[in-house]
């Protein structure tokens, strides 16, 4: 029954959640109380009483990263879903998913990179990712499988996490998203992959396991497009551009 409080809008919960949970701890909840909470949550969404922050108009450029991420999610999901159904096209799967991957990367640079710290972190992560991919791509290297197994989830997870930050998703939400879209499929996928061959029907399952990653990008892209995410050409948040004095 306490979970019903989560139906309320975030802003309402920030203000009243601890109080209402304390109240629910003090008395046993009846079914009527549960129905009353659901009605209350619906009312809180329809008639918000807790004032929020005033929304300022977003420049058009702030919508671009979200639309790019949304397109990437669509391409990825569509491509992998198609392959999961048509495993005979196994050799061609890189085309659209590759474009989706590039689009995912393109949605990540933002105003945070204009600040010194953000730029250093982004460059550092990029170099680490490039090293992993580069080493894993060397054909004769025996540890490449191990590196790929560690490196790719880290890279894909890092990209998803960074995009989630840009979409304004909180820490708990980010970990859940990474868990559902990457960790869980990897845990299921490893045992499947051990006994799999290119012609095995299990290859379809492997493709299907990668679909949640595209769905996660769809969700993030939609949220990023609605909320707006500054691009690298926008002034960083908190930095006010100097006004141009008339000559």
């Amino acid at each position: 029954m306490r979970a019903l409080v989560r139906l309320y809008p975030r802003r309402w919960r920030d203000r009243y959640e601890s109080e209402i949970l304390a109240l629910l701890d003090e008395r046993p909840m009846s079914i009527a109380d549960g129905i009353d909470l659901v009605r209350g949550a619906l009312d809180a969404h329809l008639h918000p009483q807790v004032p929020g922050r005033a929304r300022t108009a977003q420049p058009l450029t702030h919508r671009i990263p979200g639309l790019v991420a949304l397109t990437a999610g669509l391409l990825w999901t569509w491509n992998l879903a198609y392959l999961a159904l048509r495993a005979d096209l196994a050799g061609d799967w890189g085309s659209l998913a590759g474009i989706a991957f590039v689009l995912m990367l393109l949605s990540l640079p933002g105003d945070y990179m204009a600040a010194g710290h953000g730029r250093r972190v982004a460059i550092g992560l990029g170099v680490i990712a490039a090293c992993f991919v580069g080493i894993a791509a060397i054909p004769a290297l025996p540890i490449k499988v191990v590196l790929a197994a560690i490196g790719y989830p880290l890279i894909f997870g890092g990209m998803l996490g960074l995009a989630a930050v840009r979409a304004g998703i909180g820490s708990r939400g980010r970990w859940r998203l990474i868990g559902l879209a990457i960790a869980l499929p990897v845990m299921i996928g490893i045992p499947v992959a051990i006994g799999v061959t290119a012609t095995s029907p299990s290859i379809r399952l492997l493709y299907a396991l990668i679909i949640p990653y595209g769905l996660a990008w769809l969700l993030i892209g939609l949220r990023m497009a609605i909320r707006g995410a500054p691009t690298i050409i926008d002034p960083p948040a908190g930095i006010v551009e100097p006004e141009v004095q008339p000559a």
């Binding site: 009243y16 949970l21 304390a22 909470l37 209350g40 009483q49 004032p51």
Partner: protein, 107 residues
């Protein structure tokens, strides 16, 4: 000056109960709920209670005090006291008229 509670829709009646409950001192959610149930004989659900509290707070009829542990007491504001007095006076007139028409003993 007072505020009409009618605009609160389904929260008007619970709001009046809450204002009356707070008229003898600050109370937190559970105490308000118990007091209202005792006064009116009607249970007040947690969703209705907090829906009404949010509306009353927004209109400046009650104010939240510093939380004690996780519980936050509420108290009546000056506007809230005027409003509840006006509402009760109106109801008193209504009750008198009703009883008079029924031929009851009106003191």
């Amino acid at each position: 000056m007072s505020q009409p509670l009618g605009e609160l829709g389904r929260f008007a009646e619970p709001s009046l109960y809450i204002l009356v409950s707070l008229s003898n001192g600050p109370k937190h959610g559970y105490a308000i709920m118990s007091d209202v149930e005792e006064m009116s004989g009607m249970p007040l659900g947690p969703g209705t209670l907090y829906g009404a509290l949010a509306r009353l707070e927004k209109r400046g009829l009650i104010e939240a005090l510093e939380p004690e542990d996780r519980r936050r007491p509420y108290r009546l504001t000056g506007l809230g006291a005027t409003t509840v007095a006006a509402q009760l006076a109106h109801l008193e007139g209504f009750v008198r008229t009703g009883l008079k028409r029924l031929g009851g003993d009106v003191r």
